[in-house]
């Protein structure tokens, strides 16, 4: 049998990547659909229809305010993607810039940036969010910022490690011999060569951001009502576990499937973009 050699063919042959990509697409599709259509309004309260079991009208039932759970989950997907994109965006842009700077300048600049990155790990996202909430109050902006700040050292570390390896390659030496400065080498040679590592890490951090936001919203520090969020739905469901246990199941399944999809897609991308790693695993 011939080896599949195009990226697409290899991707389609990678079973866990296919599952991960399908779940991730499902998440994106849910968010996109919610922009145009939801079965019911996720904001409209209808006390007469509260706590209904799943049926043909309300596919996943209703919550204690009579809101349709399917609609809440669809809009919740949009919320999770928003948090993931912004939090990963903060980490990716600032962390990559710092990592590239550390690798290009070396010496005390590198030492300073890396020690700062080590230091930031002393504040897990939830602890940073608690500090920000204590000062500025609860809300989605503060929780996104806290998760984003926590992402910066992760991207700084991975960028620096990958970029340092590229800096020692012969084609970079050739570029330097041609008289190119550190910034043009960084932009033209280093960044394109570390992009795959960054994409893989971004996928994994996206999953972590969804988990962190769900935890913060569950605690009441993240997304505030009436904006639907999966974490908040779980917090509300917990008070009704004896009457409506299913309410505590659906949002959790949504979070787990979204995170599972992103993790599988990230692992798959790593194998596909770096075949040497795939053989080692």
């Amino acid at each position: 049998m011939s080896q599949p050699n195009t990226f697409m063919a290899r991707a389609l042959a990678h079973r866990s990547f296919v599952i991960g990509a399908a779940l991730t697409l499902l998440l994106l599709a849910a968010a996109a659909v919610s922009l145009l259509w939801t079965p019911w309004s996720p904001y409209e309260i209808d006390m007469a229809a509260k706590l209904q079991a799943p049926d043909s009208h309300h596919w996943l039932g209703t919550d204690p305010f009579g809101r349709d759970v399917t609609s809440l989950l669809l809009v919740g997907a949009r919320n999770s993607i928003l948090v993931g994109v912004i939090a990963v965006g903060i980490g990716l842009s600032l962390g990559t810039a710092l990592g590239l700077l550390a690798a290009a300048r070396r010496g005390w600049v590198e030492e300073l940036i890396m020690r700062l990155a080590d230091f930031t790990f002393a504040f897990p996202a939830i602890l940073s969010a608690i500090m920000m909430t204590a000062v500025f109050g609860a809300g989605i902006v503060n929780s996104i910022t806290a998760i984003g700040i926590f992402n910066i050292p992760t991207f700084a570390r991975i960028t620096r490690a990958s970029a340092t390896a590229i800096w020692s390659r012969e084609f970079v030496l050739a570029a330097r011999a041609c008289g190119k400065g550190p910034w043009s080498i960084t932009l033209e040679h280093i960044l394109p060569n570390i992009l795959s590592a960054l994409i893989v890490q971004a996928t994994i951090q996206f999953a972590l951001a969804i988990l962190a936001e769900a935890a913060l919203s569950y605690l009441g520090l993240g997304t505030q009502p009436p904006q639907p969020s999966w974490g908040r739905m779980l917090a509300e469901a917990q008070t009704l576990m004896f009457q409506a246990p299913l309410l505590a199941v659906f949002p959790g399944v949504a979070i787990a499937l979204a995170v599972l999809g992103l993790n599988l897609a990230g692992d798959g991308l790593r194998d596909l973009l770096d075949p040497r790693l795939a053989r080692k695993r």
Binding site: A122, F123, P124, I126, M131, A215, Y218, L234, M241, A248
Partner: protein, 316 residues
């Protein structure tokens, strides 16, 4: 070893100091008038001023920082605004729950991860390996607070083996106390164990490919003896590193899980302090949690050198 320890210890002190500066800046300087935060936006200016002088908030920032740090070193964390009791007393009371919970979760994590990881590695590419790693993927994707809710649904609501929350207290006996912490401990451990099992498996597979393993097998050692006598110790370096990071995650995780089970630990204290606007308690609790994370990482660094002497040699 002495020089290595000295170097690591000075990094530890510098990091602790840096953490205290960040916490002080965020919780004391950033909000502007801390007395205003404590009393709320509608408080009368005279009342705010009186509270500021009572709490010493009208002193210069450097003086306040020095008072806080020297107090921390002497074990004096100040008086809680909302509880009117010494913060140290409050924190110690809550740590009696949070520390055993984190330790229990760590023990469960290590036990679960080692069993799963060793089993998967010794059945590499067979059904057992694929099944275990599939379960680990699912374990990593599950939020710990949702798993906690599912445990409550099964063991408290349906089977009624455990109470749905609360802490019996250590006065009720060790068994009762541990029983109250079992479900929270499991919900914290499962996610971390899934991560550690994957690391353990890949570390073991890496070492199993080494020449000395083949030599040991060629000498006539059984697979079991090779695994326990040669492979495990060599595979433990990445595992111990990740365990250190995970303890930090477990400590942060207790904040969430304590809230799911209504456990009166440090996590719940922080939340009550936030809703009471008790910044003195928040500041000290955040410092304590950050310090625990930093100290655990220091211990991991040292353990690292004990397991693998090459680390120490290359570091000096």
């Amino acid at each position: 070893m002495g020089l290595f320890l000295l170097k690591r210890f000075s990094t530890l002190l510098a990091t602790l100091l840096g953490a205290s500066v960040v916490i002080f800046l965020v919780l004391e300087i950033l909000p502007g008038n801390a007395a205003q935060i404590l009393m709320g936006p509608d408080a009368a200016p005279e009342a705010v001023q009186a509270l500021a002088s009572k709490l010493g908030l009208d002193a210069p920032a450097l003086t306040r920082y020095w008072q806080w740090i020297s107090g921390l070193a002497a074990g004096d964390l100040g008086i809680s605004y909302s509880y009117s009791t010494p913060v140290l007393e409050l924190v110690l009371e809550r740590l009696a729950l949070t520390v055993p919970l984190a330790l229990m979760a760590m023990l469960l994590t290590v036990a679960l991860a080692l069993v799963t990881g060793i089993y998967a590695a010794s059945h590499h590419n067979r059904l057992g390996d694929v099944g275990m790693m599939g379960l680990a993927q699912i374990g990593i994707a599950i939020p710990n607070f949702w798993f906690a809710i599912l445990l409550i649904l099964l063991f408290s609501v349906r089977l009624q083996w455990f109470s749905a929350g609360g802490f019996a207290g250590w006065d009720e006996g060790l068994a009762q106390g541990l029983k109250s912490l079992l479900l929270p401990g499991i919900s914290l451990a499962v996610v971390q164990a899934a991560i550690l099992a994957r690391i353990t498996r890949s570390a073991l597979l890496e070492v199993l490919r080494e020449d000395f393993v083949r030599t040991a097998r060629a000498k006539g050692l059984s697979q079991r003896a090779t695994l326990w006598g040669h492979v495990l110790r060599n595979a433990m370096i990445p595992v111990v590193t990740v365990m250190g990071l995970q303890f930090a995650n477990l400590l942060a995780g207790t904040i969430v899980v304590e809230n799911v089970f209504y456990l009166p630990g440090l996590g719940r204290l922080i939340f009550q302090a936030i809703s009471n606007r008790d910044l003195i308690v928040v500041r000290n609790c955040v410092m304590l949690l950050a310090a625990m994370v930093i100290v655990v990482n220091f211990v991991v660094d040292v353990l690292y050198a004990v397991i693998d002497p090459r680390v120490k040699a290359s570091d000096i």
